[in-house]
Amino acid sequence: MVVARWLGEDKRVELRDDGGGGPGDQPADGVFVGALTGPRPSLLPLRLERAGGGPALWEGALRPAAALEQLYFEVRADHNGEHAVLLPAAPLGRSADARELAWTAAGFGWAALVLVYALGLALWRGR
């Protein structure tokens, strides 16, 4: 369950593991997704909690800076109990977006291309 206070109104959305997260998201794969929409707020307080209640797993505030913001959380358990952490991007694996992997691969491929190009020029120069 995600609770947000959106311009004075409390909005709640239950996250579901029903494969509704787009390509790559399968039912019962452990990835729960949900969506909130509304007029653009300047700051959006959010709280992630279990549907049955209990202490919050994560609390924070989002400063929306794009028309569509996507947040990824990973829920973990340790000696302090359960808590959720915010991830910078979708975790690798079944829920990973192919385009995100392509971004990283493009970066490394690009670096390799430049290096090969530079070495080639150097070798040509040295002939």
Binding site: G30, R63, A67
Partner: protein
């Protein structure tokens, strides 16, 4: 959610007008989460944590823990030895003697117009959507952006009176220790323009101007057009510029002064120095210093790097040298006076910095680290303020060819050594190469001195790194363009022109501009716009070593002041939350409120006319407590939900 531990939860948050569900997933602005290396302390005893959200979520695995190897005396001895070797190498590699042989090449016809035009186009692309945002949208993703724009709006009155009565009300705020006086003068000179529009224009024109200046410096070093433009791209469209644009430190994207320092110090140490070269160096150095103290440090490094060997070798001509020195003193001494007298707090009061390793940890947060030399990742934008040193791999690869391609050419070793030195400073006093392993760099010695941690952003020396690499790359291409094996038939372009495509891909794909950029609508809440006197804003009181959310609240208040024009309690240049007077006053009033005291008489005595409750952010209990306390003064507050948040504005009219 129910059941056993789940792997991940994905949540999409969008506006009603959001378009396709398949929009690219990008990193989210991290408003309010502590940095990975900072532990979240519990609230002080007896005070409780006020407000919602109380950010206590941890970021899972903290990368740096108490298991780090301690810094010991043998390490210090090793650092000292390294520093001595470094100094010896610098003396050995001084190349200013050879610089006297460089003859700048002539400029092709039309290049004086074509070059700035191309840089402007590239800058418009890299800073997109600043070029089309006008005054309706602020382009940037960090809390520095609203504060920087506020500075432009307040500049006309700050130049008149150093102590501003409209902020840090009622005592006023001293802005003598402003980050950028050039930015302040710009705001004053162009006060007819909306500050949001001015900020967006600076994002487009600033990198273009910086790139053009770097190209001038490269031609001084012997690079020929069009290859000299690579220096401009490598300097003005790399990691440091991206950081400035994303953070919202727009004035740091306007950096022509460093290349102009380089250009003029080369002329000053060249075969025919003129008085104007010395004057120009002094003016460029002053421009750098008054843009930002870190630009001043960078300009000093550049000047000393090429000027000191010439001075020691008695090769500087007296007239131009004295002219440069006079201007440096004339610009530097008043700056030091303002710095000392400005009263700014340069270290947080809620964090111990008494020992050397505490100071190193503190400064390392403003340093690049090794990973920042690589292409930026979503993690960098989410957790590390988007701070990147990435020097464009295309440019770096070309610069690395310099020892071979430019063998024997003047200035090569000096530039390579300058780049290496700047990189070593920019990565910070600690190089963390593993989960627990770290090395101390020579820069760490500086922080043996208590107070030196005031220089807490070494990564801004990344500008010098990018400038040096850019100039080298431009010279490498110039030399390669003359290689017989790369000559083509008349009318056919050289294969070296492939570099332009590579640079474009480097900026848009590897560096990630403009894809990483975000924008925020400008505008304020209608209730604040209707206020008629000083306003006291009430936000959640977050007690975190890392002040992102507190900084956002402060920046928001300051930016909104441009619209409503009333005095506010925030100090708009306080760098740490405990030093913001609004928070100190709110703490005091909050303690009283929890003890049953009415905050209204105190606020009236201080001169506040209104209290603005940022209702979306306050916890239910806290909001109810403030509402109960203020309802006697104003039973029907103004409840407005425009401008992106819900604010309850109470009128503290004097008691009848």
């Amino acid at each position: 959610m129910s059941g056993p531990l789940w792997a991940a939860a994905a949540l999409s948050v969008g506006q009603a007008e959001a378009t396709t569900p398949g929009a690219p997933r990008q990193a989210i602005p991290n408003a309010g989460l502590p940095r990975a290396e900072t532990a979240v302390p519990p609230p002080p005893e007896g005070e409780g944590s006020v407000g919602m959200p109380t950010v206590h979520g941890r970021l899972g695995q903290e990368p740096y823990t108490d298991a780090r190897e301690p810094i010991t005396l043998p390490a210090l001895a090793g650092i000292t030895g390294l520093l001595v070797l470094w100094a010896v190498w610098l003396v050995v590699t001084r190349g200013s003697t050879a610089l006297r042989k460089i003859e700048p090449p002539p400029e092709p016809r039309g290049w004086a117009i074509l070059s700035p035009a191309l840089f402007t186009l590239l800058s418009a692309l890299a800073s997109w959507p600043a070029a089309i945002s006008g005054s309706a949208r602020m382009v940037g993703r960090e809390f520095d952006l609203p504060g920087t724009i506020w500075f432009l709006s307040a500049a006309p009155r700050l130049l008149g009176e150093r102590v501003d009565p409209l902020t840090a009300f009622p005592q006023g705020a001293d802005y003598g220790r402003a980050d950028s006086f050039v930015w302040m003068v710009t705001g004053w000179a162009l006060q007819a323009l909306d500050p949001v529009l001015l900020s967006n224009l600076a994002q487009v024109l600033g990198p273009a101007l910086s790139g053009w200046a770097a190209e001038l410096a490269a031609r001084r070093f012997g690079a020929r057009a069009p290859w000299s433009a690579v220096a401009g791209v490598g300097y003005a469209f790399a990691g440091p510029t991206a950081t400035a644009l994303l953070e919202g430190h727009t004035y740091l994207a306007v950096t022509p002064f460093l290349p102009l320092c380089l250009w003029s110090v080369l002329a000053l140490t060249g075969p025919e120095p003129r008085l104007r070269h010395g004057l120009f160096f002094g003016l460029a150095w002053a421009g750098a210093l008054w843009s930002s103290v870190y630009m001043g440090f960078c300009a000093t490094l550049i000047g000393a790097w090429f000027g000191a060997p010439a001075l020691l070798g008695r090769r500087l001509v007296r007239g131009p040298m004295l002219a440069a020195a006079a201007l440096v003193l004339a610009a530097g001494l008043p700056y030091v006076g303002l710095f000392i007298g400005g009263g700014a707090v340069l270290r947080p009061s809620n964090e111990p910095l008494d020992t050397w390793d505490q100071r190193l940890d503190f400064v390392q947060r403003g340093s690049g680290g090794l990973l920042s030399l690589l292409p930026p990742s979503p993690e960098l934008d989410t957790f590390y303020h988007g701070m990147s040193l990435y020097p464009l791999f295309s440019v770096a690869a070309l610069a690395l060819l310099a020892p071979r391609v430019l063998r024997g050419e003047p200035g090569t070793r000096a530039l390579l050594a300058l780049a290496a030195t700047a990189a070593l400073i920019a990565v910070g006093p600690l190089i963390r190469y593993s989960y627990v392993g770290q090395l101390t760099t020579p820069l760490a010695l500086l922080y043996l001195v208590p107070g030196a941690e005031a220089m807490r952003f070494p990564m801004r020396f990344g500008w010098v790194l990018c400038l040096a690499l850019g100039v080298l790359a431009a010279r490498v291409l110039t030399r390669l363009s003359k290689a017989p094996g790369l000559q083509t038939a008349p009318g056919w372009p050289s294969p070296l022109h492939l570099i332009w495509l590579l640079l474009l891909l480097d900026i848009t794909v590897a560096l990630g501009l403009p894809g990483r950029q975000r924008w925020i609508p400008a505008g304020t809440n209608g209730a604040l716009a209707a206020a008629t006197g000083p306003i006291f804003d009430v936000y959640p009181r977050l007690r975190l070593p890392q002040d992102d959310l507190n900084a956002w609240f402060q920046a928001n208040d300051c930016l909104q002041q441009h619209d409503h024009g009333q005095a506010i309690a925030d100090h708009c240049a306080s760098r740490f939350a405990p030093e913001n007077p609004r928070l100190r006053l709110q703490d005091e009033l909050g303690r009283g409120l929890r003890g049953g005291q009415d905050p209204t008489p105190t606020l009236r005595r201080l001169g506040f006319a209104h209290v603005a409750l940022h209702a979306d952010l306050l916890a239910d209990e806290e909001l109810a407590a403030w509402q109960a306390a203020l309802s006697a003064a104003d039973p029907q507050p103004w409840d407005d939900r425009s401008g992106g948040e819900r604010i309850l504005l109470y009128d503290l009219a004097p008691a009848p």
